[in-house]
């Protein structure tokens, strides 16, 4: 069936079977392969995207359920010129090893920091507990997210 939604600021229309998950639609229909698939049963968080601004698991959503929604993927949070403050923080803190969980980590952290730029380490850990990383042991990821908080605070609150 035909399906229209907005992805990373662009309106798209694709033809999908109802059984196609949103992550498969993004990856294989729209070739947005930055979003990864690690389990297909809603545990690992690698497929996290932003749906109408909220972090969701794209393997647990049918593509057809996203009709009319606004989707942002890791590609939409990136640009060619420079790393965003959150991306730069991930790099600076060595919060990346194999890179497979990274897009899901960054989309999740982006959603969190956008809403709660003053969250503490416990909150970061709680939120990221839905994203499995098998390489880093998480210490550096939590540090990276905490260090990126200032970039999400309104300008007047920054020194």
């Amino acid at each position: 069936m035909p399906l229209s939604f907005e992805v990373n600021g662009k309106q798209v229309t694709v033809e999908v079977e109802p059984r196609m998950t949103l992550v498969d639609c993004l990856r294989h229909k729209l070739r947005l392969t930055g979003t990864h698939v690690g389990c297909e049963h809603g545990v690992c968080g690698a497929c996290t995207i932003l749906l109408d601004g909220e972090a969701v698991r794209a393997c647990l959503i049918l593509a057809v359920q996203a009709e009319g929604c606004k989707i942002v993927t890791i590609e939409g949070l990136s640009n060619d010129e420079a790393l965003t403050p959150l991306q730069a923080s991930f790099r600076r803190h060595h919060a990346v090893q194999c890179g497979f969980c990274t897009p899901g980590m960054i989309t999740t952290a982006h959603a969190l920091l956008s809403e709660e730029p003053d969250c503490d380490a416990d909150r970061v850990r709680e939120v990221l507990s839905g994203n499995i990383c098998r390489c880093t042991g998480y210490i550096s990821i939590v540090e990276a997210v905490l260090d990126a908080r200032s970039a999400y605070r309104p300008p007047e609150s920054q020194p």
């Binding site: 070739r31 930055g34 690698a46 590609e75 991306q87 890179g99 990221l128 098998r134 042991g137």
Partner: protein, 758 residues
């Protein structure tokens, strides 16, 4: 220019694409005409295949082919052992697809090639498989009983018994003042990678060339195997390494799918891709760790260890896979770890069972055997009323004894020795940084409902397996230099660390290293890959050799151009200078390329000490890590940031093995943990309090870099140290953990048993 990129926390080059979602993993490839493979896997642990009928399946819309053993002329080829390929193991090797018998749940029976994965999975239901079930061998005891045979013609389920030996253990036990005998077990874990495995194969019938994407870890070895199995010349196959979402020993070994997918591509004449789903990953990727041991230690009254004697039994699963014997061997050979034990005889038997076959997982055998040994040491300290730290310090191999020979292992004779180190120094550093003296006062105390416990343990970590690695440098048209290595990337940051090494060796800025190309068979003449913490040590050393060779080529070429002797040429960051004001730029020698190699028969031994402070909520068995410190000396540090990343990352995997991860089977050989909701991986909220200190006091004397393998040390101590800390916390209940993982239920059961006993 004298650079010092080596030793600096250089930010990783590969991150620039990873943080933008621009990595390219095998499932990101979608060539025109692509078909998708899905695999029908056995739902029986043990059975005889009576028939497979796919006649209805091939007629389904969207199904292009169904491949079974019958489609392979001469029968399905076997997958040979890569490490310890002893003839005794050959009968136990796995064929690429089940033929007459199935021996584990998850064994491939048929491959469906279809227009989409979904259509292929729909089609699986239509294949009619008739299997006569046989009684399953679900553990070592049943395997040893011998009345249920996996390989009838072998007459027994034991594939091998290794013996590690030095001195005269029996004589030492006879004379010893103190002896303790114990039994321990470790659970079944595996090197689960977050990216499931995947293979994409393209067959060009016109040229007879095969291209296989998704290669990892050991592409050159795998190409040799595949060429043999497919009846193709090696050089007609290209193995392409894409970005690899984690290795940990498990990914990149030759698995059945590494043949089945290229075979399907040639069979259908279309590109074919297979991406493992997580459910099948849990039953198809190499398992690891599950072992039990009966072990005895003999000591003098002062705690001096005199001898170690024991027999380990390793649950191998259904086949001997490529590196399946490594853990069993290491359990025997490394049971003494960093301690000086003059008399050793430890056997390790490999028992075939109807489970997913085992292979290596980071720190293979070492995690297990360190748990056995460190537990034993704390028990000895308690028995002899010795301080646990003092007992260890007394028995650590003194620095003056380096290099120190390892026990001989039979029947795979290869003498090995520990290269360098001062184990007491890292132990002392660990105690000091940890604040042991203060924290030890908390031992066994009940504070706010939780019991506090502490422990410390020491380890060694082998690295830098030989025999060889290859590297090549090539000057680009713009004068920058490209690096090509036979090592593989599995997420450990090789593009950055090799650029650091190359820039320092060539004495040019790092931005003039255009790229580090790794893992694919096209780049160097031969490569050995990423295992046994070898990439940096072996590839880096080869890179130094390649630099020397490239400089020689430049000198020769420049001398010819300038009409002088090669010895008169000076190479610097700014260019190439000859006598009488003659000069040239690197770009003038574009296309010059030099390969280098490093050969090595010995291994490096990183070492260190770990300390843990835990609390236990004894009512529910919950363990919390309050503080955990890993101190590691890994020789020359290339990038302190990535080394620390290796230590913390592997430590959390170790804690996962110590506390969470367990692949469970029932008596019929059915896998009970078939999802990530059942196989519990550590998450971000589990272990927030971990610290790592990495030092470089003892560069390795056996390679020009002075580096040691450092990818596995974090995992090795975790089980023993955590278990000892729990025993320390729950001393009031007489708790002595003898089995991992230490689930809350097990802890609770031990506490309850202790309550009843008192």
């Amino acid at each position: 220019m004298r650079n010092s990129f080596v030793g600096s926390p250089v930010e990783r080059r590969e991150d620039l694409r990873f943080v933008r979602g621009r990595g390219q993993y095998v499932d990101d490839l979608n060539p025109d005409g692509l078909l998708h493979a899905v695999i029908l896997r056995s739902s029986f642990a043990h059975g005889r295949i009576r028939s497979i009928d796919a006649s209805a399946t091939v007629k389904l819309a969207g199904v292009h082919a169904v491949i079974t053993a019958r489609d392979m002329p001469g029968g399905p080829p076997r997958i040979p052992m890569r490490l310890q390929p002893l003839p005794e193991f050959m009968p136990f090797e796995q064929g690429v697809i089940a033929d007459t018998k199935v021996r584990y749940v998850g064994e491939p029976i048929a491959v469906v090639v279809a227009t989409s994965v979904a259509v292929g999975e729909d089609a699986l239901d239509h294949i009619v498989v008739d299997i006569e079930p046989l009684p399953a061998v679900s553990d070592c005891e049943t395997s040893a009983a011998g009345d249920r045979l996996l390989f009838e013609q072998q007459g027994a389920n034991c594939a091998m018994t290794f013996t590690a030996e030095c001195g005269d253990a029996d004589a030492a036990f006879k004379a010893a003042a103190y002896v303790r005998r114990e039994k321990f077990r470790t659970g079944r874990h595996f090197g689960l990678t977050l990216e499931p495995r995947g293979v994409m194969a393209e067959w060009d019938a016109a040229t007879g060339r095969l291209t296989v994407s998704g290669a990892a870890k050991v592409p050159f070895f795998n190409r040799r195997v595949l060429a043999e199995q497919m009846g193709l010349p090696e050089d007609s196959i290209a193995m392409i390494e894409n970005d690899v979402g984690g290795g940990f020993g498990a990914r990149g070994e030759f698995y059945p799918e590494d043949f089945l997918i290229p075979f399907a591509a040639r069979y259908t004449g279309r590109p074919v891709k297979w991406i493992e789903d997580r459910r099948e990953n849990l039953m198809a990727m190499n398992h690891a760790r599950q072992a039990q041991v009966e072990v005895e230690i003999a000591c003098a009254h002062d705690g001096t260890i005199l001898a170690l004697r024991g027999h380990a039994h390793v649950d191998m699963g259904a086949y001997m896979r490529t590196n399946g014997a490594v853990a069993a061997r290491n359990i025997a050979q490394f049971m003494a770890g960093p301690y000086r034990i003059p008399n050793i005889r430890v056997k390790s038997s490999l028992w075939m069972t109807n489970k997913t076959p085992v292979g290596t997982y980071r720190g293979p055998g070492r995690f297990e055997t360190d748990f056995f040994r460190e537990r034993l040491l704390d028990m000895v300290a308690k028995d002899l009323r010795l301080d646990r730290v003092e007992l260890r310090r007394r028995n650590l191999i003194p620095a003056s004894h380096m290099p120190y020979p390892l026990p001989a292992i039979a029947p795979f004779p290869a003498s090995d020795e520990i290269d360098s180190g001062d184990y007491r120094a890292t132990l002392d550093r660990c105690l000091e940084e940890f604040g042991w003296a203060d924290k030890a006062k908390l031992a066994g105390k009940l504070i706010d409902g939780r019991f506090h416990g502490l422990a410390v343990g020491c380890f060694i970590e082998g690295g830098a397996a030989g025999p060889k690695e290859t590297a090549r440098l090539e000057i680009n048209p713009d004068g920058s230099v490209a690096v090509f290595i036979g090592s593989s990337a599995v997420g450990q940051g090789v593009e950055t660390v090799f650029a650091q090494i190359a820039a320092d060796a060539l004495e040019i800025p790092m931005d003039r290293i255009s790229g580090v190309h790794h893992g694919s068979t096209a780049y160097v003449s031969d490569g050995y890959g990423a295992y046994h913490s070898r990439s940096v040590v072996m590839g880096g050393s080869a890179l130094l050799d390649a630099t020397k060779n490239l400089h020689n080529l430049i000198r020769t070429a420049a001398a010819k151009r300038f009409g002088c002797l090669p010895s008169e040429i000076k190479i610097s960051e700014d260019g190439i200078v000859g006598p009488h004001g003659s000069s040239a730029r690197f770009a003038d020698f574009a296309g010059l390329t030099a390969e280098g190699a490093f050969l090595n028969k010995k291994h490096t031994y990183t070492f260190g000490a770990h300390a843990a402070h835990v609390t236990v909520d004894a009512r529910i068995g919950r363990i919390e890590i309050i503080d955990y410190l890993a101190v590691t000396d890994c020789g020359r540090i290339i990038n302190p940031m990535t080394v620390r990343g290796q230590v913390i990352g592997s430590l959390v995997q170790g804690l996962g093995g110590a506390l969470l991860e367990d692949l469970k089977y029932d008596k019929d050989g059915q896998l009970l943990t078939g999802s990530l909701a059942d196989y519990l991986l550590p998450s971000a909220s589990d272990f927030p309090n971990l610290r790592a200190v990495v030092t470089e006091m003892f560069p390795s004397p056996i390679n020009p870099l002075g580096a040691k393998g450092a990818g596995e040390g974090g995992i090795i101590s975790a089980g023993g140290v955590v278990a000892n800390a729990v025993a320390n916390a729950l001393g009031a209940f007489g708790v002595e953990p003898r089995e991992l993982p230490l689930t809350p239920q097990r802890v609770w059961e031990m506490v309850e048993a202790g309550r009843l006993a008192t």
